[in-house]
């Protein structure tokens, strides 16, 4: 079981907490302590709004273990309004309704089950179309 790994990442996973570069103001997600834009140290916490739009998307039918129960599920690259792209599942929407440029917002959902039936449930961010009611 992988409790330690998921516990360590809980802040980023639950709240889209990244960093802002104190030197060039780049917004950074996932956090990496080194600014990808200017190469300087960037450890200042920054909470993203969770608003963005779909940069690209697709649907997965052959899933890794832990995700079999979700099949089919739609994943996307979402462009956050603060700049960064993020990889995430889409939720509360059918694939045929998704399109590039569609506005989306972050929600916290169950991502997958770690390991076998006894496994840990891993929660984290997904995105849903703005204006859609949760199921």
């Amino acid at each position: 079981m992988e409790i330690p790994r998921h516990w360590r990442l809980r802040k980023q996973r639950y709240g889209l907490v990244g960093e802002v570069c104190p030197h060039c103001e780049a917004k950074i997600f996932p956090p990496r302590d080194v600014c990808p834009d200017c190469g300087k140290e960037a450890k200042t916490k920054f909470s993203f709004s969770g608003q963005g739009e779909v940069y690209s998307y697709t649907t997965i039918y052959n899933a890794p273990s832990g995700f079999e129960a979700n099949v089919p599920y739609t994943v996307a690259l979402v462009k956050l309004e603060e700049g960064p792209l993020v990889t995430a599942q889409l939720t509360d929407v059918a694939e045929e309704e998704v399109e590039i440029g569609m506005p989306v917002e972050m929600v916290t959902r169950r991502l997958h089950q770690d390991g076998d039936e006894r496994g840990l449930l891993v929660y984290g961010y997904k995105f849903r179309p703005i204006g859609f009611a949760a199921h």
Binding site: T59, N70, V75, L77, T87
Partner: protein, 390 residues
Amino acid sequence: MNNNIVIAGIGQTAVGEHWKTSLRELAHYALEDAIKDAGGLRPQALFVANMLAPNLSKQSHLGALIADFSGFVGIEAVTVEAAGASGGAALRQGYLAVLSGMVDVALVVGVEKFTDVVDAGTETALATTLDSDFEAVQGVTPTSQAALLMRRYMHEFNVPADGLAGFPVTAHANGAGNPNAMFRRAIKAETYARAGMVSEPLNMFDAAPNADGAAAVILTRADLLPPNFPHPLVRISGSASASDLLALHDRPDPLTFPAARRSVETALEKAGLTREQIDFFEYHDAFSIYAALSLEAAGFAERGRGWELARDGVIALNGKLPCATMGGLKARGNPGGATGVYQAVEAAAQLRGGGGANQVAGARYAMIQSLGGPAATAVTHVLERVEIGE
């Protein structure tokens, strides 16, 4: 002459589902062939290219395992891993080892064994090559990553629905002439247009099949070979490796492959060649979209126009820049970490004039490129037929 590192022997197994054959046996068959082809040269060092055995076969420590099983107990042996670029990376380690003067004869073996597991195991293992904490945790897989890139590419550059068909059509046409290919039947563009979706817009012909296989090359310095060596020599004229941001979402522009571009530029520079001198290009067509992006990164096409080279027949065997000449990953099959070594074997065969039905006429310079993920790692080699008296 000390910098004259040559491929003195090549070997491979057919690519496919080798249910009855273990990982160690596959590697053994390929390396046995390569050693025989090299006139019996005995290696002092073994570089194993492998991507997934620790997960798929619960087996790491492949260096000792394969040296042992193949009867080379005692020699130096390590595994080199860089996801899908493991083959190219191991080839480069072997090259550097011989170039260093510390190793006279290096054996590079690429081996991958997908059929040791069934069900979700394959996708689970493949997902380890992504950013585990921020990509794989979302259930993303290498195939869906390629689909994400493909959709955005088609959107940005107004590519028609069957715009990438030329890549698998070319690959399958060439696979028909390769006895070691997994798929040996040509397909038509109409077949592509009707194909089932894997991860929309990526269909079953846009993804190379993961399969079992092993390939091997023997590297040495040309001056160590006997004068009556049994076949033409192929020199490694350029070798380069580069990396990129691992996660797709961290890249400023996901639709470019800067690591591929950089490794091509360095490899050409080391070889003292321009890209126009390259006679054929073995790109890493794990997915059709990667072929398009690789052609653009290498400078063979402008941004957003790589797919036109397939549409227009430029990459066909009789085109200006033949690609995937033995079927590429798509038709020969994609044995993971072994793939880059297959490319070296196939390119060397072509440069020797041993391309059979698929011979690229008069080929002197080949470029081969091995990618890990969407070019998070890119390893490029330029191979050259050595003319008599050189």
